[in-house]
Subunit: 408 residues, 4 copies
């Protein structure tokens, strides 16, 4: 098979599934495998992945382990939050936004190590395969992408375990049986879906939530925090400057403690079916509220309404895997342009699952108490102007009214 | 003054301000005044308005008092909620949606009683003047609209009180001084703004909230309710069918009890400045969550994404006062078309300020467990199709990648 | 092969290619074939298709020949023109709009005749396969669709001719060689693409154009016509009422004569690549100009601008094959709502490739000479209103100006 | 009147109307007047304006005459053409785009010369007052704007002439009577409107057109030209590099000769009424066709469709006078981002009123003959991918089909 890959960079977690993929690539294609394991804040140690890769015969120079948390937040999460992006009204895109970064590093490592292919462990029913592959093809049109779940015949848990046993892949005890649901995690969120969660009529059991306490168990007294923004990005909490990843980590801790950011959701996958997911986005939920809060006083209505009207499309592009597309970059240019004065501080109240903006201030504020006041405004605003404003806005409606009276 | 109104229908609450307007219209224009007082669920008795109008010399046949609650919810609130309309990401448009109905009745009463003008008590700085007047002009292009606050010289509280005293208008004790803020209420919401609330950096004091308990004081145990929809409109709570206004009234009670629907917000007024408002929309907040929940399983992605992308524009039209405009009606036609199968039931958890969808089911569901399942799907979905799907979606990105490599 | 089709309805033109497909279906699947040949105004006689089908062994009751011209124009072309739909700024969607109707009839005939599959002759590189199949699946989710060009190994002209010869399919002399380009035609347009036209840098040779005289050969004197619309649809030419298909036929004749509606275009296919096409849409080009002309005076700016902003999406949906989708139907509801008063007459000048609106009038006109006149307008419009209108529109810009001066 | 202007910069053409305004400003406000006369390519000599200003007593240092043609095309016309902006489907915005530049210079001259106000000669019924004033307020929130046509009582031709005579303003013979229509011109276009043109049902007489020959009088043989673009802007004609203003001047000459760019149009003014205009945009019409032609091969569908969907809003912003607004700048950032590879050459055929793209080529082309060819493509494209692509695009439509069959 001349089209077979010679050297493959695999997105490798160190877990059972990607270990099986690793071995399958070696046996199916007889190819050299390079592993790539990234810390995106999923909360797992990475060194065990190194040991497992070595155990499976990967040469040390072919094992890549990287801490991408700062890049993830700075270049992916923050740009997305400048847009207040939510998918289908509610989902904060925690999984979607991580995939392009992984693909970017896969392709870069492939280039550096002379590999001709990349491989991922996403299934053929989901969105992640699309996100991985569109990003990879956009960044290197000649790359091969291998998606074992779409190719192999290991279509049941039993067959997977058999394959692992035949290939001396160690199997943790709790991995022999089926997991009750599938989990993805990074610094922005944890998602759970599948199996026990497949009936959207039934409330998700509490043990599904891994990253937040339940609102019922959250503290009985509210906590207030202040988040500071510069040009649309969070830069400090309670006056203390922090790096992007540190800020998100801190906000996650606030959110975890107060039960913030849980979402039980049925969404439309790009591949055509609906699926139900349980999402926990503790820090992101706070960040979104804070960002909206600072935009309230620093963003003009013309800018804000334009952003709002384009946000669904922007979110859809990210959800569907088009981060590396001209249209996402065009929208990003528009969004970033809007953020030049989105600088200031927001005060938030955290309490039992809720986050609410209760105050905001900024040197860049467009709020003018002088104009809006119920008190005497010393000529800042002439109420008589409103008469002309209304008259001309009404003119076309009057013409329509007259016409409709005339011809009906 | 030949252009002076002969007979004016006044939106009359029975309060001090509109009583002053009533008298001012009589003295300024020497015109006959017709009063119109509507029950939109603001929670005040209307009969006192009749007595006050009579006291001010209005003939009994010129006093109109109407219960519009069902029409308000059925023909204005529900159509708006079909769109999941929120203004600037958060505001549920509680004041905006009531104005067109009041104008509609003002114009109808004017027609029926031979009046040539209508009058309202909105100030020249706000959105309400625009909403009242655009609606009135759209429905009767020849109507005159009188906005005393833009015309008279009663520009301070002192002058108003003087005018009232000179004209034998009774003044309730608590109305002599300035109110600490201004309030508007109807079945959908209560808004508070101005004066004590004019500094957006400061948290609103708790006494501002009139319609909901604070989350801290809400019950310590969650409550679950089920809301049923037919073609996009709520028709039952916990299996019990109710009229539109009854449903909203009930949801308000649930929301009030659990501290749901409070919003501290800075928004962009149509007349050009930013203002800060405190909104309480208890039932509406629950209704929005429920409607989104039922759409999750009954609305296709193509329909949902189109709706989402147009929602900001639709909300802006309502906020700006263009309910009776061709473009709002066109958008409504689009939205209503989407709701043909938005039928089913949503289960919601109410707890200390939050409302969360935890289950949804429907005969009209598009959710297909057969397609999405992690289990063997018996051929419902061929994972290999995804390969072609991705390949063709990637084709243009590859061509771009090749081009960019070539020319840069 | 249990999945093999038992009875297939084939979109059959009577030409060589679909005759080969017919035979291939019989031999490959051993299935019964039903032929469907439609008159969509492509300008070919249909009875020869009956004879050829009989020759290839199709039972008379399995041969369906239908004149769909009126349905095509009334239910597909006219609704689309209500939207002023053009794809990528220029293409009038002549091929795209015909496919859903063919699929609709294929599926209906399949249902009536107990067939379990439909088949079409579109290739695997184009848009038409997508349009045929999306429509078929939308109308009958259980239908099988067979696309021989994606399945068989008759991948060259030589192999096709061999197959035809081996199967006693008559081959017209001029079909032995390669056609210099590929043609599609219906009442709305003729498209030519491929082969001789594949270099987008080279001007298309004049012999490509089949349906219009060249502008150079068109009459030296302009011709004027008047087109009348009712609720957005053309109903008469020069005062003479006609059926939809008759109107389009007549406009085609005017366009042909004056060299109107030629387009040399490079477009983006849904399947990811660019292609170059030569389109001739004589009557459609006149119809579009006329429709825009009548909208100029009968459509309000709010309605018109909303339509304009959604048109590209509507056109994209039709181009991509989503005629039978909820979002196209939602947009259609919006568009149709806008057309309630699009009634009146437009006067057009046709001359050497151009069509220009030179006059328009309507009882439903919103044009008000009284308001717009440079003469004394007797109080129709108070110029002083403009001052207030501008002041309030400027307010936010002033606040921005002040802010930017302050913080930069 | 303490609010009266002390020193006013007047947009001064040297004609009768602005001379009257000049004198009126002096007499009404007793203020110092600074004149600003710009060459935007309107085709009139400017030095006579200097003499007239001097005659009216303006000090030499207060007379500003500037050639703004290059700035006009480079910073206003070209950015707008990157967007393919057309208002309401047809109007190329020739007047709209000139106003912000004039306001910019008025404000800059005011700042430099210590003036506290600017003045313009636009009437209170049109769009130009809005454009002038929004731009001025955006650039200097504290500036006063004086619009004499909205203020004075010179409401008839007779009164104007009287005022001129009383004030020793010279009156050209042909200015004593009413002009049959009103004209505005600059390098991009000439517009004519009002009076003789106010009936939109009647064809405009040929003498209205001032800038193009009629198509009937244009040459009988077509002419071909090639326009080269770099990053979205035209840089050369027939291989010869030229400055922006030179290119537009040249294209105007081509357009004039071939009768290209005439438009008879009814549009919706921002101030609420419809008006009829006759526009001539010879070079702009060619430039638009050329720009679209080069985008056909260099712009990806994702980028192009996004641009197309936002163009109407962008055009509306310019038409309404919001050039200097955050939302126009945001859209410009998006548009400019899309133009990075819009580089290459277009071949156009000019003939009797029409301009048609007949060829286009570019090193930045995304057109891939290899992918699109009807010939054997050597594996560039796998037709089988299309099956999966269609299947997944169809999935949601099938689910809808099944649902609708089930519940209806």
């Amino acid at each position: 098979m001349s089209d077979a890959p010679k050297k493959v960079v695999l997105a490798y977690s160190g877990g059972l599934d990607t270990s099986i993929i690793l071995k399958w690539l070696q046996t199916e294609y007889g190819c050299e495998v390079v592993t790539f394991t990234a810390d995106l804040g999923q909360g797992e140690e990475l060194e065990p992945a190194r040991q497992k890769a070595e155990l499976l015969g990967i040469a040390p120079e072919n094992i890549h382990i990287e801490d991408l948390r700062e890049e993830f937040v700075r270049d992916f999460v923050f740009p997305m939050f400048r847009a207040n992006a939510v998918y289908e009204g509610e989902y904060l895109l925690g999984t979607s936004i991580a995939r392009p970064l992984i693909s970017k590093r896969l392709v870069e490592i492939a280039k550096a190590s002379g590999a001709d292919a990349v491989a991922h462990g996403a299934t053929g029913k989901g969105n992640d395969q699309v996100r991985f592959e569109l990003s990879a093809y956009a960044l290197d049109p000649s790359i091969k992408v291998i998606a074992p779940w779409r190719e192999w015949d290991l279509t049941s848990r039993t067959k997977l375990i058999e394959f692992a046993e035949q290939n001396q892949i160690p199997i943790a005890k709790d991995k022999r049986g089926e997991a009750p649901f599938s989990v993805d995690a990074n610094l922005l969120h944890t998602s759970s879906e599948g199996k026990a969660l497949e009936n959207p009529a039934e409330e998700a059991p509490d043990y599904v939530y891994q990253r937040t306490v339940s609102p019922e168990e959250a503290p009985d007294t509210p906590e207030y925090i202040e988040v500071t923004f510069e040009r649309g990005d969070a830069t400090a909490i309670n006056g203390q400057a922090m790096s992007p990843a540190t800020i998100l980590t801190q906000l996650n801790e606030y959110g975890r403690k107060h039960g913030i950011g849980r979402l039980d959701f049925v969404e439309n996958r790009f591949v055509g079916m609906k699926s139900r997911g349980i999402y926990e986005t503790p820090g992101g939920t706070i960040l979104l509220a804070a960002h909206r809060g600072i935009e309230q006083i620093t963003l003009d209505s013309g800018a804000g309404h334009l952003k709002d009207s384009l946000m669904p499309r922007y979110a859809e592009l990210i959800y569907n895997g088009f981060w590396f597309s001209p249209e996402r970059e065009m929208l990003q240019a528009l969004i970033d342009k809007s953020q030049e004065h989105v600088t200031g501080t927001v005060r938030l109240k955290l309490y039992k699952g809720s986050v609410n903006t209760v105050g905001r201030w900024s040197d860049h504020s467009l709020y003018s108490e002088k104009h809006v006041t119920f008190e005497e405004d010393a000529g800042a605003y002439d109420q008589k102007d409103a008469a002309g404003f209304i008259k001309l806005n009404a003119l076309r409606l009057k013409l329509i009214g007259n016409r409709n009276a005339r011809v009906k």
